[in-house]
Amino acid sequence: MNNKIVIAVLGAAILGAVYWMTTGEKASQVVEKSDGAVKVGFVYLTTPGDHGWTYAHELGRQQVEKHFGNKVKTSYVENVPEGPDAARIIRELAKKGNSIIFTTSFGYMDPTIKVAKEFPNVKFEHISGYKRAANVATGNIRYYEGRYVQGVVAGLTTKSNKIGYLASFPIPEVIQGINAFALGLRSVNPDANLSVIWVNSWYDPVKEADAAKVHIAEGADILAQHTDSPAMLQAAEKAGVLGFGQASDMKAFAPKAQLFSSVNNWGPHYINKISKMIDGTWTTGDGPDHWAGNDWVGMSDDYLVLTPFENMSADVAKAAAKVAADIKSGNNKIFTGPIKDNTGKIRVPAGKTLNDGELFSTLNYYVEGVKGKIPG
């Protein structure tokens, strides 16, 4: 081949590209048309195979497909890192004609807000964040309700009075979970203590397993987690201790160890918001209390579902069912004073119940019964 030919071909290609770019539509206005069905996009942090957080969202997406049939077409992108790639992928989903896009991790908050500005006609639903915009809604589940029940079961079941807890990042959601667990624990067993290991990851099975083993080695006989893989329960199963599953039912991994799982049931939320989008009644979910909005729901609406109580005595199961029913009916508000922090200082006076905003912005301490200090 001749060098001149190569140069000529390259030159022609560049000229062609320049021509095509200058005659193209204005870049940011390109939106592909969808073919009848409403398109719905999902952005996942890990893979549905995590069997925790993302898996729960994937089950929600499958419920959407089943509910709407061929009226709705869903697609998802997995393993999207919380950085510039997230913005690019959300944008790409918007351009591909998705009418509503669910971004399912806290770290997508700023990218979602940023992209939403560019696509005023597309609806965005950010899960677990607090920033809203005209076309950005937030949604979340009161995970801490399930954790309170876990605490009760743990308190009634433990023999060593030592509970091990695996945590990911010290964000409000996780702190609420730890504290709710401890409140439940201490409500039935004033001698039991909770110790927390921060894994600094949502998903690192081997490290989670290691941390679980460390808890067991330190004498814990019941484990709970706010990380996503089933590794902790498997470690518990092997060591003959008990534990709680996270986000989805993990019984298959630990039939003898799982007391129960608090399952995040996203399906109803997704179906609800998509229906509203279709019939034009979609809202951002902003409520009287900005933090909570209108879309922060829990056990009362079956967004948080507890799997059957197993591997515990009938008395404990009965007590747990009673507590769960009280939370569901609203009789038990969980964060109601008097609440002491773990240095003995009263943080919430008797009779007062923390409202949703306070749960986010004032809960920066461990309550009584939790060992150590919140890192950072």
């Binding site: 893979t47 110790s195 290991i197 290691d210 893989s229 298959a252």
Partner: protein, 303 residues
């Protein structure tokens, strides 16, 4: 305390396997940065084989074979086609991570019976140490066995001598009539087999399920460990326990309410490795004795 030490021990096992395999490859002069990819292939194959055949022992075998095969891919390119070892190793990591995810997709969500522990009769009854040292699964014993065999092989056998000669100066070894590339091919494949075994340990013992990328950087730690051990098998053992110990200490420290940032603790092994590198480099005699002079250099066979 005993339970904590036991945890350290088990966490170190994958590192011992992967690092001692990489040690052999590096001693022959090949730097294979694809340990992570090979471990992942080992892990997924071990899990898949155990759940298909219902026996974790088949899993061990599958992990070893898969690791060796993945390493063979590296060998074809880096040795056969003399591509740059650093770039090829990185490509292998990307490839292995992808392929393991693909192969493992049908097995996500399944679980297997992990390897059973085999107590060594009599020895296990020794007070204090018995349970700690002689009540493990077969792979723990295997890992120690391999360390002993590798140490013996490198210093006491002719083949070990050839391997070191090839790693120290491939040109002289070639001039002496040794098949440099063939020696390196065996070494790299062995390294892959060991990385595969190290990966297999994760689903077979540490956490009996498969998930994408479950090695989470342990292959890279193994690479550091080889250097930390200054290419001596016995020190791999010490180093792996130290690296594993720091990981566990960091978690246990939290459970006990320490307030040292875990990141600072996690940095220690790497900083220690650099210090070791400097010490080795200063002590020329030692450096000459152990660190392979031709590490990472391309050998081209032309007749």
């Amino acid at each position: 305390m005993e339970a904590l030490i036991l945890t350290v021990l088990l966490t170190s096992v994958p590192l011992i396997f992967a690092a001692s395999g990489e040690l052999i490859a590096e001693r022959s002069g090949v730097l294979n940065l694809g340990v992570e990819g090979m471990m992942l292939m080992g892990a997924v194959s071990a899990f898949a084989a155990s759940s298909i055949f219902g026996s974790p022992y088949v899993g061990i075998l599958a992990g070893a074979v898969a690791g060796a095969l993945t390493a063979a891919v590296f060998a074809v390119f880096a040795l056969g086609l003399a591509t740059n070892q650093v770039a090829t190793g990185l490509a292998l990591t990307i490839f292995g991570a992808g392929l393991s995810g693909l192969v493992g997709a049908p097995f996500v969500g399944g679980t297997i019976d992990g390897l059973p522990t085999l107590a060594i009769p009599l020895l296990v009854d020794i007070p204090v140490f018995g349970n700690l040292l002689f009540n493990h699964d077969i792979m723990v014993y295997l890992s120690i066995g391999f360390i002993v065999i590798i140490a013996w092989f490198l210093t006491q056998t002719r083949a070990g001598l050839v391997l070191r000669a090839v790693g120290n100066s491939h040109d002289s070894a070639h001039a002496l009539g040794y098949q440099v590339l063939l020696v390196r091919f065996y070494a790299v494949s062995f390294g892959g087999m060991m990385a595969g075994l190290g990966g297999a340990y994760l689903p077979l013992v540490l956490t009996p399920h498969w998930s994408e990328g479950m090695t989470a950087g342990r292959g890279w730690i193994a690479l550091a460990l080889v250097v930390f051990a200054s290419w001596l098998p016995s020190r791999i053992l010490i180093g792996a326990l130290l690296f594993g110990g720091i990981t566990i200490m960091q978690l246990a420290g939290q459970a006990r309410g320490w307030t040292i940032p875990p990141q600072l603790l996690s940095m220690l092994p790497y900083i220690a490795t650099i210090v070791v590198l400097v010490i080795i480099a200063r002590n020329r005699e030692f450096a000459r004795a152990n660190s392979p002079a031709c590490l990472g250099q391309i050998f081209i066979q032309n007749k």
